[in-house]
């Protein structure tokens, strides 16, 4: 592992614009601007991915397959061999690449609209086949790029541009806990869900991504990491409220933790239960 410089101080307002990653730019990033909205969680997820690839010594062995969403902008900034796929289709593209290059570290980068709405069958079959690829889901519960519309992971009650009074189970149906679906399949070696709503969450998520990539490199079948990301623009909340909204609204349903590690299986329901305060008082997470 390479030594990293200390994180920027948060005691005082930042001296540089927030969209610049400045001195903590990962080595695999071509330039410092991420081009996405202020307060977006996806650049954090990208930084995690690039740092883990480098720390695992995979910089010259990684191939990414990128779906269609705001994160598509990363294809011009990630200094990693990439294939741009269609909306929903990255897992099958990753499958073909992995079958021809079993020695490469192959990952997909998809949003919840891409993976869970449009491409649900692709990711499920890829997991069931036990393809040794890592599918990374950036889940913010909305189609961010189109301007904040409902996806298959939008939680009940969540307001979006096409569920203005909040997602209603009777009218809009229920959200899909994709991690649970994938964790239960025989071909899955690793499945986990993290969140980048605070620094501790970023550190934990980075560990999950590392374990997923290690699982792939060890030939333990399909691996999956879901990363909950802020989308204040798509949620219509003030930028500063993004992390709190993510933790409170999406994080309460899509609870974080490991769903599968080898033969150890957990469900999201169990993660939710273990996160609940026992006394009824608010417990800091």
């Amino acid at each position: 592992m390479t030594r990293r410089p200390p994180a920027l101080s948060t005691d005082a307002p930042p001296e540089e614009p927030a969209r610049r990653m400045g001195r903590i730019k990962p080595a695999l990033l071509l330039h410092e601007d991420h081009d996405l909205c202020p307060g977006c969680g996806e650049p954090l997820a990208m930084r995690i991915l690039l740092e883990v690839i480098e720390e695992l010594g995979q910089s010259q062995n990684a191939i990414g397959v990128v779906g269609i969403g705001c994160y598509t902008a990363f294809t011009s900034t990630m200094d990693v061999d990439l294939v741009q796929a269609l909306h929903g289709r990255a897992p099958s593209v990753a499958t073909g690449a992995k079958r021809m290059r079993p020695e490469s570290l192959i990952f997909t980068l998809q949003g919840d609209g891409d993976m869970v709405s449009e491409g649900l069958q692709e990711v499920i079959h890829t997991a069931a086949r036990g393809e040794a690829v890592t599918c990374v889901l950036l889940n913010n519960g909305v189609f961010g790029e189109t301007g904040g519309h409902m996806t298959a992971t939008t939680v009940l009650g969540q307001r979006t541009k096409n569920s203005l009074d909040g997602r209603d189970a009777a009218y809009h149906g229920h959200p899909i806990l994709i991690g649970d679906l994938l964790a239960q399949l025989g071909g899955t070696g690793y499945a986990a869900r993290g969140s980048v709503h605070d620094a501790a969450g970023v550190v934990k998520t980075k560990n999950l991504v590392r374990r997923a990539f290690e699982s792939q490199l060890q030939g333990r079948g399909f691996s999956f990491v879901e990363i909950l990301t802020m989308c204040p623009t798509g949620w219509f909340v003030p930028t500063a409220d993004g992390p709190g909204y993510l933790d409170r609204v999406l994080g309460a349903v899509h609870a974080t933790g490991e769903l599968r590690n080898g033969d150890r299986l957990t469900t999201t329901a169990e993660l939710v239960a273990s996160a609940l305060p026992e006394t009824g008082e608010e417990t800091p997470r």
Binding site: Q58, Q60, D81, L82, V83, G96, A97, E122
Partner: protein
């Protein structure tokens, strides 16, 4: 060595001979046996055949395999290819050398094959073999053209081609050297500032935004070049022909037989067969139509290729349809039109100027 081989098996074997090492497909008549033969033969050749869970995944997997620089193919029949259209047009813009085996039900997918059903401006080379022997040659040519132009190429066959056994030699053909696939992803350039990006929407590494106008115009220029350089046709007896018959694929085999017979009897009949449905051999058709009294289009559909024939002939002679919809009970395209006497009688009637009458 000459062996008796069914079309679908010959195609799979010719593809593997040409270096194809990846195939993904989803069963559908009359394409199914092509998939079966790839599944049986590829592992022994060091390749992979994935039984995809849908046509969408079959084309996606092939996309990924192509991106690594492998020779790879997929296929289906018209219905399955309809599902793949989004990827087919996008793969063209990603400039990946895809080969598609289309075993059509009859000839009703001419428009789909030559116009495409995907989004945006794009073109695929479409090769329509007349028999199993030519399918072996064109399959190998398809992989060469795909790599040369970095553009998808379709082998357009049908039930008859896939299920007819013929005595063929499946030997590797020699082609000119190809440029190296330095665009293919292998991960090796990560972190060097020169990593690759196989991208169908025109995004490039390090650049801000895209330039769709320049991107699409560059592709159009390539397609213009293919259109100028790659048309192929077979022409017979057109110099003094009063009637020129235009047909493609399996049905052309019946037309060619009938035209030869009629010539033997002293009738001034000619024949043009587009081997490339795109680029359409417009010059060959136009030359054949010079001096002809009429041009008869024999195709097994409601009238699709006739549009291209009319555009090629440009009023030099009347262009009349002598084919039509002709289906068996199963709908797989083995209709009563696939009969030498029927084809002969339609050509004779057209020669007499009464092509519409029974």
């Amino acid at each position: 060595m000459r062996r008796l081989v069914e079309g679908s098996e010959a195609i799979a074997e010719a593809a593997i001979t040409a270096g194809c090492r990846f195939f993904a497909g989803y069963p559908m008549t009359p394409f199914t046996e092509v998939l079966e033969h790839f599944a049986a033969k590829l592992p022994g050749a060091g390749g992979v055949c994935v039984n995809a869970e849908s046509e969408l995944e079959a084309i996606g997997m092939t996309w990924g395999a192509l991106a690594t620089g492998a020779r790879a193919a997929t296929g289906s029949t018209g219905q399955g290819l309809a599902l793949m259209q989004e990827s087919l047009s996008e793969i063209t813009r990603a400039e990946l050398p895809l080969v598609v085996f289309h075993m059509a039900r009859g000839q009703s997918d001419y428009f789909q094959a030559t116009r495409g059903g995907g989004h945006g401006d794009y073109r695929h080379v479409v090769l329509a073999p007349i028999d199993v022997h030519e399918a072996v040659t064109l399959t190998q040519l398809a992989f060469d053209l795909a790599d040369r132009w970095r553009n998808p190429v379709q082998i357009h066959g049908d039930f008859l081609l896939a299920h007819t056994a013929e005595a063929v030699d499946i030997e590797p053909l020699a082609f000119d050297p190809l440029p190296p696939k330095d665009w293919a992803v292998d991960g090796s350039l990560g972190g060097t500032g020169r990593s690759r990006n196989i991208n169908p929407i025109g995004m490039t590494k390090g650049a801000k935004g895209i330039d769709p106008d320049a991107f699409w115009k560059r592709l159009q220029a390539k397609h213009d070049q293919i259109e100028a350089q790659e048309p192929r046709a077979e022409t017979l007896f057109t110099e003094d022909a009063e009637l020129v018959v235009v047909a493609f694929g399996s049905l052309a085999r019946f037309a060619r037989y009938a035209v030869r017979e009629l010539r033997g009897e002293g009738l001034r009949v000619g024949y043009v067969r587009p081997i490339t449905l795109w680029p359409f051999p417009a010059d060959a058709v136009a030359r054949a139509a010079e001096g002809a009294r009429r041009v008869a289009v024999l195709e097994q559909n409601a009238g699709q290729m006739i549009d291209d024939v009319r555009l090629a002939v440009l009023g030099r002679a009347p262009v009349v349809p002598i084919g039509g919809i002709s289906s068996d009970e199963a709908g797989f395209g083995i209709g009563p039109l696939l009969d030498p006497d029927e084809v002969r009688s339609r050509i004779t009637r057209a020669l007499e100027g009464r092509e519409g009458s029974p």
